[in-house]
């Protein structure tokens, strides 16, 4: 069983995580946590000093964190992007597609289930920041 999953090759950031509100005022903070109602754009000017963004999913049904992740990655953020909270097997693949590269679920996940979830779909229909080639592009690659 895994209570922390990372897809990164570097060490997981251990820095103390501060709230989005206090982050702007703490110039030495490098790790920040975003709650569902908060606007990830507020971080855009400060991305180069951040090594970890935690996006909280208090309930897996609240999908605002997916957009927060996409926005950060589309704006060039390359640090660790961690999904925390009610993170279940069946959301992992979508989260990865939106740019999450580590996961800290409330309840530990079965390693085999995690592996199966990431391997489930052979292809993707959309272009996102994960860089996978969407089906519509593959179809015309040889042409």
């Amino acid at each position: 069983m895994a209570d922390f999953i990372t897809l990164r090759s570097d060490e997981a950031t251990q820095e103390p995580v501060v709230t989005l509100e206090s982050f702007a005022g703490q110039s030495n903070a490098t790790a920040v946590r975003i709650e569902p109602g908060e606007d990830a754009r507020l971080l855009l000017g400060q991305l180069d000093r951040i090594s970890l963004v935690e996006v909280n999913f208090p309930a897996y049904t609240d999908g605002r964190g997916y957009s927060a992740a996409q926005i950060l990655r589309e704006s060039g953020y390359t640090g660790e992007l961690r999904a925390v909270g009610d993170v279940l097997i069946d959301q992992l693949a979508y989260m990865r597609r939106c740019g999450f590269d580590s996961f800290k679920p409330n309840a530990p996940l079965d390693d085999a289930d995690v592996e199966a979830a990431f391997a489930r779909y052979p292809d993707v229909y959309q272009k996102t920041i994960d860089g996978r080639t969407p089906i519509w592009a593959k179809r015309h690659e040889d042409a």
């Binding site: 999908g63 069946d90 229909y125 959309q126 089906i135 519509w136 592009a137 179809r139």
Partner: protein
């Protein structure tokens, strides 16, 4: 029509395997019902009053004979021999066992069908004009864009846990046969200076707070539709309220932000997205469009019809629509036999319609949001033979768009959210108006019934709408007048206090009696209501 390639098939097969695994984990107790719920919902599986209900997607309402036959097979093998066609151009089965669901999805996948995203808070099946490709007034066949959107929305990682369900419609005619402006996003394809693009309407919907979608963009070119829709959704997903499910639809957001502000934020997001290359290239649209190419019509066919059989002539007048190709016709099969359940068809009937499509309609059928079936390519010379077979199998009701062609949701007979039954009310109204011949006298009258405020029966958009409410523990029905889901889109107004089951039938009759007395030449019920206003109708109903 569209056919899967290996990519599409692999995605659907993977979904079947995933769901099989999820069901197994549920049955083993590894998933709680609470955790399983959103997963089964993403596969169209609801827990209803008596059993599981499975909703199968019919993308933009288009089916082949082989697919239709599979729908009949599923009705026979896994249900109690019936399927129910819905206002979302889908089909649902009301008596499904959880343990059968993975096998049903596998059967569907074998004919390039699925139940992906037919429920849950995600982008649902894309709806479209049931006459797409054969309507004389369209600027293009809207289905290639609908298919492009189907693929884009399938397993969309960012938009699979939205605040609420999300419905998109694509049409390509000024005439709106798909209630486009009552969708979360409505796209109307238009031509400007010879270029195809879309008018974009956002924030329509029915339910508790019905709203006709305002126009957000007058013209977005066809190459940018995906990224524009993506921008519309991101603004929604970032804000959309999760605290109150009645305020979570995009219509509330657009309303609360204001159209101007929503439009501005979408424009900002769109400017950013343009750079991301999210739109499939033209070649991909062309690849899809080739599947919808104009069929090889026979030329030189006669437009003459032998109308000597009066019953046939009546059916032709009521249920057959003009086709853009000489010698061909669009045949509507009414699933509203008098006294029947609106939208229901037996396994035998579904299979017969599959056969008829293969024999008479270039192997294609359509499902309409009015819960009927269309054979879009029938040679006029074949109409009589077709009608004979429909007639012999309970599918020949000549009542398209009449007061007996009622849209009704499943209501309290099946649905766990219902306040009142819809089906018996529909049956009583149809029987009353058919028995006294008033249905024919009245002509076009769209009557729509919902068993609760969720409005699956589109009651807001009925020329006459009926809403089931719970009044001190007994079923009660409110009457609405003046709605329309067509290009003259409007929302019905409640007449006043509600009625019991017999009272609502009487009230509908009083309203239509007034119409018959007051109408002027060529006026439909809706037109008379709009001219006279509510007052005289109120007087007639309650006076």
């Amino acid at each position: 029509m569209y056919q899967y390639d290996n990519y599409d098939q692999a995605m659907v097969d993977a979904r079947v395997a995933e769901f099989r695994d999820q069901v197994a984990r549920r049955l083993e107790g590894k998933l709680t019902e609470e955790q399983f719920r959103p997963l089964r919902l993403m596969n169209g599986l609801y827990l209803q009053l008596h059993a599981y209900m499975l909703r199968v997607a019919v993308p933009y309402g288009t089916l082949s004979g082989k697919q239709m036959r599979m729908l009949g097979h599923i009705a026979r093998k896994y249900d109690r021999g019936y399927g129910h066609f819905t206002t979302r151009q889908n089909i649902q089965y009301n008596w499904i066992k959880l343990s059968d669901a993975p096998d049903i999805l596998a059967d569907l996948a074998s004919v390039e069908m699925h139940a992906i995203q037919t429920s849950g808070n995600c982008i649902r099946n894309i709806s479209s004009d049931q006459y797409a490709g054969v309507a004389a007034d369209e600027v293009a066949d809207p289905r290639p864009w609908a298919e492009l959107l189907r693929q884009w929305s399938s397993f969309h990682p960012e938009f699979s846990y939205l605040p609420r369900k999300f419905k998109i419609a694509v049409i390509a005619s000024a005439q709106d046969r798909a209630a486009m402006r009552l969708h979360d996003i409505g796209l109307e394809l238009v031509k400007k200076d010879g270029v195809i693009g879309a008018r974009v309407f956002v924030g329509g919907g029915m339910g508790r707070t019905p709203i006709v979608a305002p126009e957000i963009n007058a013209f977005i070119t066809e190459d940018e539709i995906i990224s524009y829709v993506e921008a519309c959704l991101r603004v929604y997903n970032r804000y959309g309220r999760r605290d109150n499910k009645y305020k979570a639809r995009i219509k509330i957001l657009v309303h609360e932000l204001g159209v101007e502000e929503y439009r501005r934020q979408v424009a900002e997001e769109f400017a950013h997205m343009k750079a991301l290359g999210l739109n499939p290239p033209r070649e991909e649209l062309a690849r899809i469009a080739a599947h919808f190419a104009t069929p090889a019509y026979e030329s030189g066919l006669s437009d003459d019809l032998d109308r000597s059989d009066p019953d046939f002539a009546l059916w032709v007048d009521r249920n057959v629509t003009a086709h853009k190709q000489p010698g061909y016709a669009i045949a509507n099969i009414s699933l509203k036999p008098i006294g029947g359940i609106p939208g229901d068809a037996s396994a035998d009937q579904i299979e017969l319609m599959a056969d008829l499509a293969e024999r008479y309609s270039l192997d294609e059928l359509r499902v309409t949001h009015a819960q009927n079936i269309v054979l879009p390519y029938v040679k006029k010379a074949d109409l009589y033979a077709l009608w004979k077979e429909l007639e012999a199998n309970g599918l020949g009701e000549p009542n398209l768009d009449l007061v007996t062609d009622i849209i009704a949701c499943p209501g309290l007979d099946y649905c766990s959210l219902a306040n009142a039954r819809s089906i018996p009310v529909a049956q009583k109204i149809a029987s009353r108006f058919a028995s006294n011949g008033r249905d024919a006298e009245i002509g076009e009258l769209k009557l729509k019934i919902s068993g609760c405020i969720n409005a699956c029966g589109h009651h807001h958009a009925g020329h006459i709408g009926i809403l089931g409410v719970d009044r001190k523990g007994t079923e009660n029905y409110q009457l609405l007048l003046g709605g329309s889901g067509a290009e003259d889109c409007s929302l019905g107004t409640i007449t006043g206090p509600g009625f019991d089951e017999n009272g609502i039938v009487d009230a509908v009759e009083k309203a239509t009696d007034l119409y018959l007395r007051e109408r002027t030449e060529g006026e439909r019920f809706l037109d008379t209501y709009r001219r006279l206003g509510m007052a005289p109708f109120k007087e007639a109903i309650y006076g």
